[in-house]
């Protein structure tokens, strides 16, 4: 029957959390940066179209384009939130897995495992 070393357990938890979150965070940062730049360019393009009178005889079209831009920005924030939720899920489960393995090792028992 083994034991649990608190220092080792903390290190293992930190490593599991870092491993689970590290790649995701850099991916999310890259995605967000790319999206912000593209949305900025799209906004500038729409402003130019409006300024040049593209929608002078098509007010419904202008409202639709503005609505599409608004949708894209709203969906961007929801996508960021969704990606963050997935990362939180990975971190949470990685930590629980480390703790359960430590418990199994310390007690010599197969304690109820988290269901994947």
């Amino acid at each position: 029957m083994g034991t649990i070393n608190p220092g080792q357990l903390v290190s293992a938890i930190q490593a599991a959390a870092t491993n689970a979150a590290g790649k995701d965070i850099s991916t999310i940062q890259g995605f967000a940066r790319d999206q912000v730049l593209r949305i900025e360019k799209l906004s500038i393009r729409l402003a130019e179209m409006i300024a040049q009178g593209e929608f002078k005889d098509d007010p419904e079209g202008q409202a639709d384009f503005l609505g599409i831009l608004q949708d894209i920005i709203t969906n961007f924030t929801k996508t960021l939130r969704g990606l963050a939720v997935i990362t939180i899920e990975k971190v949470w489960n990685a930590i629980v897995d480390v703790v359960w393995k430590a418990l199994d090792s310390a007690t010599g028992l197969a304690l109820p495992r988290p269901i994947p």
Partner: protein
């Protein structure tokens, strides 16, 4: 059931030595393991005894459906600079139909229920709207993405029909590409 198994294990632990090979430090080990078990109980309580699932499972059919609609839309936009609208009318309908089919698959996909920790927190703080806000926060964004993709295709179709597409094509193409990138980024992230 899970609680029963756990407490059974706990009583076995109580009746057995923790570390017989290190009897001089047995007390310290016993305390250490007890602390670990308390932590495990807390974790089990938080997780409801299960691995937390905050987002739906990856669905290859949805990812493939989005990819196909993306390809078809880009082919359609590439052909929009030449020839009359009548030659492209069917292609618009096909792409919009593909996106609508993906929307049906997204709506049919099971959404995980919020974990007890979050719902319990909402109850504890006494904020009825908190529960709804948590459910909203856990909702996959792809359904909204597809609604906007269909909106962009309909706007492009209308502009093409009215002879305005050539002047507005760059906006439609980039709007579609940005929105599709959001949808694909989330769906790909579900492949965990």
């Amino acid at each position: 059931m899970r609680t029963g198994v756990f407490f059974s294990a706990l009583s076995r632990f109580r009746d057995s030595p923790i570390d017989s090979t290190h009897s001089s430090s047995g007390g310290r080990h016993r305390i250490t393991v007890l602390i670990a078990i308390v932590f495990a109980v807390l974790a089990a309580g938080f997780a409801g005894g299960c691995a937390v699932k905050l987002a739906p499972d990856y669905d290859k059919a949805i990812f493939d459906g989005l990819t196909k609609a993306n390809q078809d839309a880009m082919v359609l936009f590439a052909s929009a600079q030449s020839g009359p609208y009548s030659k492209r009318a069917a292609a618009y309908d096909t792409t919009i139909g593909e996106l609508a089919a993906v929307q049906v698959q997204i709506k049919a996909r099971a959404t995980p229920t919020p974990p007890p920790l979050l719902t319990g927190f909402a109850v504890a703080v006494g904020d009825k709207s908190a529960g709804q806000q948590i459910s909203d926060a856990l909702e996959a964004p792809t359904a909204g993405d597809v609604v906007t993709l269909i909106r962009i295709m309909n706007a492009a179709k209308r502009d093409d029909e009215n002879g305005r597409l050539k002047r507005r094509l760059d906006f439609h193409v980039e709007a579609f590409a940005i929105q599709m990138a959001q949808a694909l980024a989330y769906e790909k992230a579900l492949q965990r």
